[in-house]
């Protein structure tokens, strides 16, 4: 865990620079969720919809959609795979993805189909993650998406 400004950032996993999702290997599955900056900059989630278990998707395909108070967008696969589990708790209470993005607010688990090859698209390693996160943080601040003290 690394503290970057006000954010606790997990550095033991991969990050997709396109979607901002974290990707964590857990045995033969990969778990996916929001990073703390993206969830905050999107706003309070009011609705999440996700494809059912068993759906096979490629990297970049939409696996669902998210609606926040003033924003709507697609959830794009950071890696290819078959959806092994959907977090039903977060479907019932989307705010979990705001409150605990690394924990109870995870989104889906996958059986990956090309992870070894797709790793090259992802951010990995403490220093790379810190550099990338700091740059993203500046972008979000410049856009005005974050509350200021």
């Amino acid at each position: 865990m690394e503290k970057i400004k006000d954010y606790q950032v997990q550095t033991d996993r991969y990050y997709d620079p396109e979607s901002g999702f974290w990707i964590k290997e857990e045995g033969d599955v990969i778990r996916i969720g929001y990073n703390p900056l993206v969830q905050e900059g999107t706003g309070a989630f009011v609705s999440l919809m996700m494809e059912p278990e068993g759906t096979l998707l490629n990297r970049g395909d939409a696996f669902g959609s998210v609606e926040a108070e003033k924003h709507v967008g697609q959830l794009k696969m950071p890696v290819s795979g078959e959806i092994a589990a959907v977090n039903k708790r977060v479907l019932e209470n989307p705010r979990l993805a705001n409150l605990d993005p690394y924990g109870d607010g995870w989104l889906i688990a996958l059986h990956p189909t090309g992870f070894e090859d797709e790793k090259k698209n992802l951010i990995h390693g403490r220093d790379s993650i810190v550099d990338w996160f700091e740059a993203e943080l500046k972008k979000y601040q410049d856009k005005g998406w974050l509350a200021e003290p």
Binding site: T42, A68, K70, D100, W145
Partner: protein
């Protein structure tokens, strides 16, 4: 993981107006008091403040999220379906100063409450001392009279909005007067509209007209002509059911009806569309739009660059759209009911399909 709920002790300071106000979620984002973003980026500078009281609004309108008998604590209630976060008034004013270059229009929404007039005066005065951005007041008629409206103008407000919402006396009675608690009076609303028109002048008073409370298209069009005659602005709002309100299960107007009402209002206000150009069926629904001039024909062809479908709201200092309330009466996942920016080509194509003009003009 446990998520502890905030606890309130009996001695805790009450977070009520005038020391505290609520901000619309969009306003809080633009003032960077709350994180978040809009689906489509655009310049937004219409800041909406809402008075806050422990006992809430004392009215009980059938469609309103703040209604007295709507279940739930007032603190937890939504208004036009979104949360309105609470902030210290002084902190909000500091942010208005900091971001004044982005601001186009400010508005304080009163609620029906015994302290609302006094607190609106105090907040109006404080804001106008620090910020030049024009300030509107969306007033609660039961709390006002002629002298009070004049005093609010003297303090710096330049426009008055009245949330009449229901465009006929009958609908007003059903939705706002004949209610479990705290019924409002049609005549009281019109007294305040009339006083406001006298005091604030032409095109400085606006009436909120909600589409979908049980009125007909003819009722709405009659209201547009009546208000235009009196140089009062009509601002359209699309009924958006608030969960658990008494109209929580009442359907929203169809997009076709809503778009047609937007278009006709634009033609009445800007192109002198005569009443004779409008035909209605037996139930008062718009059935035909005759095109008495080439100008009207041109507007129908071009949809006037989407202007009729933009959000109605008070203007900025130079007449530009000032209060555009993004996602005010629809969810981000729905089609824009009113556009907080100039619609683009794809938007115009969608609007044209939604209008189904060929049914009206042939």
């Amino acid at each position: 993981m446990e998520y502890p709920l905030p606890t309130l002790s009996a001695n805790e300071e009450k977070k009520i107006s005038p020391d505290y106000v609520r901000l619309s979620a969009a306003s809080a984002m633009v003032l960077r008091m709350q994180s978040g973003r809009f689906s489509r980026e655009f310049d937004f500078g219409g800041i909406n403040l809402l008075l806050n009281y422990d006992d809430g609004c004392l009215s009980d309108c059938a469609y309103c999220g703040l209604a007295r008998t709507r279940p739930g604590d007032y603190e937890e209630k939504s208004f036009i379906r979104v949360d309105w976060p609470l902030f210290e008034t002084d902190e909000v004013i500091e942010r208005l100063v900091r971001y004044e270059d982005k601001m186009t229009r400010l508005c304080i929404s009163m609620v029906t409450h015994g302290s609302a007039y006094r607190d609106t005066c105090e907040i109006t005065e404080k804001i106008c001392q620090r910020v030049k951005t024009p300030l509107s007041l969306l007033v609660a008629p039961p709390t006002l009279n002629r002298e009070r409206l004049q005093h609010l103008k003297d303090l710096g407000a330049d426009m008055i909005g009245v949330g009449l919402d229901a465009v006929t006396e009958e609908v007003f009675f059903d939705r706002r007067t004949n209610v479990p608690k705290g019924g409002l009076k049609w005549q009281n609303y019109w007294d305040i509209i009339n006083y406001s028109r006298e005091i604030y002048g032409p095109w400085k008073v606006n009436i909120h007209c909600v589409v979908g409370l049980g009125e007909t298209d003819r009722d709405l069009c009659d209201m547009f002509y009546q208000l235009k005659e009196r140089q009062i602005l009509a601002y359209l709002f699309c009924f958006n059911p608030e969960p658990d309100s008494r109209m929580g299960n009442h359907p929203k107007s169809s997009i076709k009806r809503w778009r047609r009402i937007q278009l006709v209002k634009h033609l009445v206000e800007n192109y002198d569309l005569p009443p004779s150009a409008l035909e209605f069926d037996e139930e008062g629904a718009l059935s035909r739009l005759n095109t008495p001039s080439s100008v009207i024909n041109r507007v129908l062809r071009t949809l006037d660059k989407g202007m009729p479908f933009m959000t109605d709201g008070c203007p900025g200092e130079n007449g530009e759209p000032g209060c555009t309330r993004p996602y005010g009466s629809y969810r981000p996942s729905e089609s824009y009911r009113d556009f907080p920016f100039e619609p683009e080509m794809d938007d115009l194509q969608l609007i044209r399909r939604e209008l189904m003009l060929e049914e009206l003009v042939g």
